[in-house]
């Protein structure tokens, strides 16, 4: 193996963080945090958005310097001035947001910064191949990373860490974008490696996952350690209460509000990939009724993004029809641009709020205008109604509990959850007849999550039709009235949210099962 250091005995503390304090301008991200991680364990960290988990881990990984406190690795007090120091100390980190260069190959991404270990030639290739084997990565080393799906990217990240000979591995929200099966596979790998003596620090907002994999869990609230517990002896609900000091919400819908009135009709929709005949979307037909939430399940990269963007007019359908039924009657949207579709009454919560939802360098009230620049109360004819926009933004801030010092603050200065609340508030303000919600609560903490679910549900009760795309199967099952499963650009199965389990849904999403969840697909 690559590490020649004596492997510490199981159960001995390998990482001891004592009295760590980190202040950012205006925020104390960590205050007097103490954390002890023992060799060979999976140690979970839990906490709300912005609780300071990532910051703490970055400190351990040498990317941030603590203002106070000490770090002890394998019994030796160390100063980690940069990631290089941490790597040398045997620490590796898989970041919350992928740290991959898309335009470089898998091999290059792995080698980067660790060229001294095995050179950059054959020996390195062999070692990478070995690690790919171990982590289940089945991509050619010379493939550009941009061609990989999320699960494989995750694996590349882990290969990167292993390649550097890390014995202590930090996984910051590694499961946020994975489906249950992928999560299981990841956990399998983690357990295997745990057997071999690796130590893990694991961060997740999904408490059942924490309970499934972790040996110990430490909860952080507002930058300070609340306590450490044994996850096997504590329920998710108790854990959540430790985190937020309150009950754990669940996205359940009960009484159905589905009506007979069609709102969105999509027929035989087809979308060809750029420069090729291959269909990214094939033969998609469905209808969303007023008061209905139609959930689309699918592994990321199977065409959900494209479906949403085609309905929004950001991509041009190759064939098929999209119709919206409003009070003024049927409107064929197929030939309209995005703005016209929005004006026709579609609200759109994009899957990536920073790329598609917000102008990060503009104040909140300017963001209120985006997508509504032709409509009252934010516009008057060809002019922008600044007073109207400000006023309505204040309303959203109030109504949706956006935590911000004011509406002149730049959108980029809000935390992710608050950004999302602003987007949801905006998209529900135009009195939409249809809401397209892509991953509406991704990366959002439990409190904000509950609020967003509640708002969607309220609007649904008023007759709003919702097309919901989510990777969070609990959310999908809890909110939807109907679920359709998308695989390789087709709608392959239908499931009843009242009876289906996440595991079954996961099987259908990966094409592994043709039974149980309704009509099968032909592949």
């Amino acid at each position: 193996m690559s590490t020649t250091d004596p492997v510490p005995q199981r159960g001995e503390p390998v990482v001891e963080l004592a009295g760590i304090t980190k202040r950012f301008p205006g925020v104390v991200a960590n205050s007097d945090v103490n954390l002890t991680v023992r060799a060979g364990e999976v140690h979970a960290l839990c906490g709300e958005n912005g609780a300071g988990k990532s910051t703490l881990m970055k400190i351990l990984y040498g990317m941030q310097q603590p203002d106070e406190g000490t770090i002890t690795i394998n019994g030796e007090q160390v100063r980690l001035r940069n990631p290089q120091d941490a790597i040398r100390a045997g620490i590796g980190m898989v970041h919350q947001h992928f740290m991959l260069a898309d335009n470089l190959t898998v091999r290059e991404n792995v080698l980067l910064g660790a060229e001294n270990l095995h050179g950059i030639g054959k020996a390195a290739s062999r070692r990478i191949a070995e690690l790919e084997e171990r982590t289940g990565l089945r991509a050619d080393q010379n493939l550009l990373v941009e061609r990989l799906g999320v699960a494989d990217r995750q694996r590349v990240e882990i290969v990167k860490v292993l390649y550097r000979g890390a014995r202590i591995i930090i996984l910051d929200e590694p499961t946020a974008v994975l489906v249950p099966q992928e999560v299981d596979a990841l956990f399998e790998t983690v357990r295997d490696m745990q057997e071999q003596g690796f130590t893990f620090l694991f961060i997740s907002h999904k408490l059942d996952e924490v309970r499934a994999i972790a040996d110990t869990v430490t909860v952080i609230r507002r930058g300070a350690t609340v306590g450490t517990a044994d996850p096997k002896r504590i329920s998710s609900r108790e854990l959540a209460e430790m985190m937020v000091g309150s009950e754990l919400p669940s996205p359940e819908t009960r009484e159905s509000t589905v009506t007979e009135r069609d709102v969105l009709r999509v027929r035989d929709l087809k979308l060809a990939a750029e420069d090729s005949e291959r269909a990214v979307l094939d033969d998609i037909s469905f209808t969303v009724h007023a008061g209905e939430i139609l959930g689309i399940a699918g592994v990321e990269g199977n065409g959900q993004t494209e479906l949403v963007e085609t309905i929004m007019g950001m991509r041009k359908a190759t064939s098929g029809a999209i119709e919206l039924v409003t009070e003024d009657g049927d409107r064929n949207l197929t030939r309209l641009g995005t703005l016209a579709r929005r004006e026709a009454g579609i609200g759109y919560i994009a899957e990536d709020r920073t790329r598609h939802g917000l102008l990060l360098n503009q104040p909140l009230w300017v963001n209120r205008v985006l997508g509504y620049q032709t409509r009252r109360p934010v516009a008057k004819g060809p002019l922008i109604d600044r007073a109207g926009a400000r006023e309505d933004t204040s309303r959203i801030v109030e109504q949706f509990d956006v935590r911000t010092p004011g509406i002149e603050v730049l959108a980029g200065a809000l935390s992710g959850g608050n950004q999302q609340k602003l987007v949801v508030g905006r998209e529900l303000s135009g009195a939409p007849v249809l809401l397209i919600a892509s991953h509406p609560t991704r990366g959002v903490d439990v409190g904000a999550q509950a609020l967003i679910w509640e708002q969607i549900r309220t609007a649904r009760a008023d007759g709003l039709a919702v097309l919901l795309i989510s990777a969070d199967l609990d959310e999908l099952i809890g909110l939807s009235d109907t679920i359709r499963v998308m695989l390789r650009g087709r709608l392959v199965a239908e499931a009843d949210p009242r009876t289906v389990t996440p595991q079954e849904l996961g099987s259908a999403m990966t094409g592994a099962s043709t039974d149980g969840t309704g009509e099968g697909d032909g592949s």
């Binding site: 740290m99 910064g113 060229e115 699960a151 099966q181 990214v280 990321e300 494209e306 390789r488």
Partner: protein, 426 residues
């Protein structure tokens, strides 16, 4: 209901829209293919119009010379932009290089001291760009504009301070040593014979190659070698990998212990040095000027264009520089008639494109290309000389036409032009 748990579900290996990885021809082979295609088109045009100058050794020789500063500036751009820093200050660094070359060659007494001083001066310009953009996070374009101004102002100032007492002219240096030229005589004679045989294609190719191996200067050889060398360093060494990673995702690079600032600094110093070398190629080549105010005349910008043309790759930028140099050389030495026959070559190119697009069922662009071909053919057919005021701009026209014809799949480094600060990544 069954709970099927799949061991390793990774059904999708690429985002939709990404094509199933097409088999790719290696870069060098594609370059060769392009070169052969280009010679074929030129040979046909030369044969059809009876203009030997299209493929004469003299044209090739001239093209090489005119392409040198552009090539070197382009390489400078490549190094900077691969590390994530936009460099429109190339012009200023080129100017600094011209002054340095003359100064070094005059006071050092040798072309090599001149070259060294040019690299040094250009490199200083690059470092200034690094201080501004990397350390102070200044907008890259602002800094580039400032460096262009400073390059001009400082060299003018230094020239009047140092050169004027010797040359009696604040805008010109005294006479400085020039590079000797070398020819591969045997090969060149043999190729000369083939060229004289007037066989289609073979003679044309011989002529072009012969032009590249006669009266070559060490500086030209060095510059050409720098293309593969740049490739090897940037794509085949650990330093290059780290440097490129700074241009693609500096935060990721940082997270792996790469010193992003240092790599950007080094990249910019090299960038400036290369641009400085480009300046030296205006001063130290036989037949060139000594230091002369304003002699760079926008070549830094053309170099930048050549680099974008070449899609941020050394081979591509060599192609861009060669295209520009060739068209310029042709127009200068062959005049209007030669340009007219080049037009014929462009028409052939467009016809090929029409066929290709018809084959791909891209009706609209086929139609456009056909219309373009028609118009150009009409111009060719109805004129024997173009308006002479426009002829000097042949290389600019050619570059535009080639860009418009070739589908643009440009792939700039992902993080180019972005501000990066240590420890600010998420």
């Amino acid at each position: 209901m069954t709970n099927t748990v799949i061991e390793s579900p990774s059904p999708v290996t690429g985002p939709p829209g990404g094509e199933p990885a097409r088999r790719r021809i290696p870069g060098w082979a594609r370059g060769l293919l392009w070169a052969v295609a280009a010679i074929a088109v030129l040979a046909t045009a030369s044969y059809a119009t009876g203009m030997d100058v299209l493929t004469s050794s003299n044209t090739a020789n001239t093209a090489l010379r005119l392409a040198l500063p552009i090539l070197l500036a382009g390489l400078g751009g490549l190094w900077a932009e691969r590390s994530g820093v936009i460099n429109i200050g190339l012009e200023g660094m080129l100017i600094l290089g011209t002054w340095g070359a003359a100064w070094g060659a005059y006071f050092g007494g040798s072309v090599w001291t001149g070259l060294a001083a040019a690299i040094l001066f250009g490199g200083l310009g690059g470092l200034l760009h690094a201080v501004a953009t990397v350390t102070f996070g200044v907008n890259h374009i602002v800094s580039g504009v400032a460096i262009n101004l400073l390059g001009l102002g400082v060299t003018k100032y230094l020239a009047s301070l140092i050169f004027e007492p010797i040359s009696g002219n604040p805008r010109q240096s005294p006479v400085v040593p020039k590079y000797d030229t070398y020819s591969a005589t045997f090969l060149s004679d043999w190729l000369g014979d083939i060229e004289a045989m007037q066989r289609v294609f073979i003679s044309d190719a011989a002529g072009l190659i012969r032009g590249l191996i006669t009266q070559v200067t060490p500086l030209a050889v060095l510059a050409l070698l720098l293309v593969p060398v740049s490739y090897l360093i940037l794509w085949r060494t650990r330093f290059g990998l780290r440097l490129r990673s700074c241009g693609e995702n500096p935060v990721a690079a940082e997270s792996l212990g790469v010193n992003v600032y240092l790599h950007k600094y080094v990249a910019l110093a090299i960038s400036g040095g290369l641009a400085g070398m480009g300046g030296a190629s205006l001063v130290l080549l036989p037949g060139g000027a000594d230091y002369l105010e304003n002699q760079t005349n926008g070549r830094g910008f053309i170099g930048l264009a050549a680099m974008i043309f070449g899609n941020w790759r050394p081979g591509g930028l060599l192609g861009g520089a060669a295209l520009f140099g060739y068209a310029d050389g042709l127009q200068l030495s062959g005049g209007g008639e030669a340009v007219i026959s080049l037009l014929y070559g462009v028409v052939i190119l467009l016809i090929v494109l029409v066929v290709l697009q018809l084959f791909r069922k891209q009706w609209l662009s086929a139609l456009l290309a056909a219309a373009g071909a028609g118009v150009l053919y009409y111009i060719y057919w109805s004129n024997d000389a173009l308006p002479r005021d426009l002829i000097p701009y042949t290389p600019h026209f050619v570059t535009l036409i080639v860009l418009a014809v070739s589908a643009q799949k440009l792939r700039p480094p992902r993080a180019i032009g972005r501000r990066y600060r240590r420890g600010e990544g998420d």
